[in-house]
């Protein structure tokens, strides 16, 4: 695939559009959950924080500027229909979309070399954007720009297989340590099973699931987290977690990997169909 091919241009364009949408507006299910929690919150300090959050969502939409200055690092999920071959060109096109978004939205250039800390200036670099590809029926690009405050609070553990009951405790403990740092009220993506690395991937993908419904298991974890009383921004309140979402995979009989990917109240993501 060449730089001037229709597929390259279409994928780069769709990636750019998805980044713009994700940076400026929240998905409807995320907004619904925030509205619901804001209405139910009883702590006066927390109610003030929710008021700022809702004012901010409105301001970003009206001004067409990013919700948060930390526009994250680019995490991208592609689904490829049978007629689109998996080539290196796809990776190039996504990176190009990310560079365009960095300039035009704009996004803050966040990506640096991990050792020298040199900023690449365009949110790309070796392994960045982080691109995950799977087969599907439609050609879509989903972006999940991930801010550092929440990402830095994320944890993984290899629990004892006999301690399935400890999964919830590990999630609650993750939030106990995180306190206000990840910009609560948070969304918690929990990956259970698989391998060390797969559990982490599942935890991140769980953040893309609809957040306005929870299973009984997810709701129980969410309730236990909220009992901590950390509240919006760690300043106290009823709402510490807005939702917990779980994804699982088969794992070794002697393993129980559990990963918690913490996401700030701005659970930003957007999906575009690639038309070419």
């Amino acid at each position: 695939m060449k730089d001037n091919s229709p597929l390259y241009a279409a994928l780069a364009g769709a990636t750019f559009q998805a980044f713009r949408e994700a940076a400026i507006s929240l998905p409807p299910d995320v907004l619904r959950v925030i509205d619901r929690a804001a209405a139910a919150e009883t702590n006066p300090v927390a109610r003030g924080e929710f008021a700022n959050i809702l004012k901010n969502v409105k301001a970003a939409g009206e001004l067409g500027v990013p919700l948060c200055q930390d526009t994250g690092v680019p995490v991208v999920y592609l689904t490829l229909p049978p007629d689109v071959p998996l080539t290196l060109g796809l990776y190039d096109a996504v990176a190009e979309g990310c560079r365009i978004a960095t300039k035009k939205v704009p996004l803050r250039p966040n990506v640096v070399d991990p050792l020298t800390r040199h900023n690449t200036g365009d949110n790309t670099g070796p392994g960045m954007p982080a691109i995950h590809i799977r087969p599907g029926e439609r050609f879509t690009v989903t972006v999940l720009p991930k801010g550092a405050g929440a990402e830095n609070s994320s944890r993984i553990a290899m629990l004892l297989p006999s301690h399935v009951y400890g999964i919830e405790g590990f999630v609650v403990e993750t939030m106990l340590h995180a306190e206000g740092k990840p910009c609560p009220p948070v969304f918690l993506g929990v990956g259970i099973g698989g391998t060390f690395d797969l559990a982490a991937s599942l935890a991140k993908e769980a953040l893309l699931l609809p957040v306005d419904t929870m299973t009984l298991f997810e709701q129980q974890i969410c309730d236990s987290v909220n009992k901590l009383g950390i509240g919006p921004m760690g300043q106290g309140g009823d709402t510490t977690a807005l939702a917990v979402k779980v994804k699982t995979a088969g794992c070794h009989t002697a393993s129980l990997p559990v990963a918690v990917n913490v996401q700030c109240w701005a659970n930003r993501h957007a999906t575009r169909e690639v038309q070419w």
């Binding site: 700022n52 970003a60 009951y165």
Partner: protein, 194 residues
């Protein structure tokens, strides 16, 4: 609070010493953004502005065409070990999110306060801001020191100059709840990673 927010203007003086944790404040005047890299640079090469009464904003803004587009607070705890030299030189206020450690709480005693601003509210923040200049631009947009004029930015006093800390009270409560949870729900094994 029965009254409206306390109005403050930089450079700050001894008026900050009467503020109490939980007070609402609206801050106007010049503030300087600084994150990890800027703190390290200032430690090494000196502070490029007059630190007396100055306010540091833990923020890496998004700037375009000499305008602040988005400028919410970053996680202040990353600057826990890097703030003492600024307060020693006369800085009176730190703004950020998530609170700071016990070291900073002690360093603020009798000298200054830590203000909290709602994390992620970058569009709201920028509507209270005018860009005035920049230092250390070579550090990149996020890490440079941006000089910003504020017009009544709404803040909460998170840590006051008497050692009161709203984050610490919440932290203590959460710790107690967690200990109880461990014993009741699942036995101490559930919390073995603590």
């Amino acid at each position: 609070m029965t009254q409206g927010p306390v109005q403050l203007r930089t450079p700050l003086g001894e008026e900050v010493l009467v503020l109490r944790a939980g007070d609402h404040v609206e801050l106007s005047g010049i503030v300087y953004t600084a994150r990890d890299e800027a703190h390290l640079r200032m430690q090494k090469e000196g502070i490029p502005f007059d630190p007396k009464g100055a306010v540091i904003y833990h923020c890496g803004p998004l700037v375009k065409d000499n305008r602040v587009l988005a400028a919410g607070p970053t996680t202040s705890a990353r600057m826990n070990e890097l703030s003492g030299f600024l307060l020693d030189r006369g800085v009176r206020g730190l703004i950020g999110k998530g609170g700071m450690g016990s070291l900073v709480r002690e360093q603020l005693r009798g000298r200054g306060v830590y203000f909290a601003f709602t994390g992620g509210c970058a569009a709201l923040a920028s509507s209270h801001m005018t860009l005035k200049g920049v230092f250390f631009e070579d550090l990149g947009m996020a890490e440079a020191v941006w000089v910003i004029a504020l017009d009544r930015l709404p803040l909460v006093v998170g840590i006051d100059s008497y050692g009161n800390d709203i984050f610490e009270s919440v932290r203590r409560h959460a710790g107690e709840v967690f200990q109880e949870y461990c014993q009741k729900q699942a036995g101490p094994e559930a919390c073995e990673n603590k």
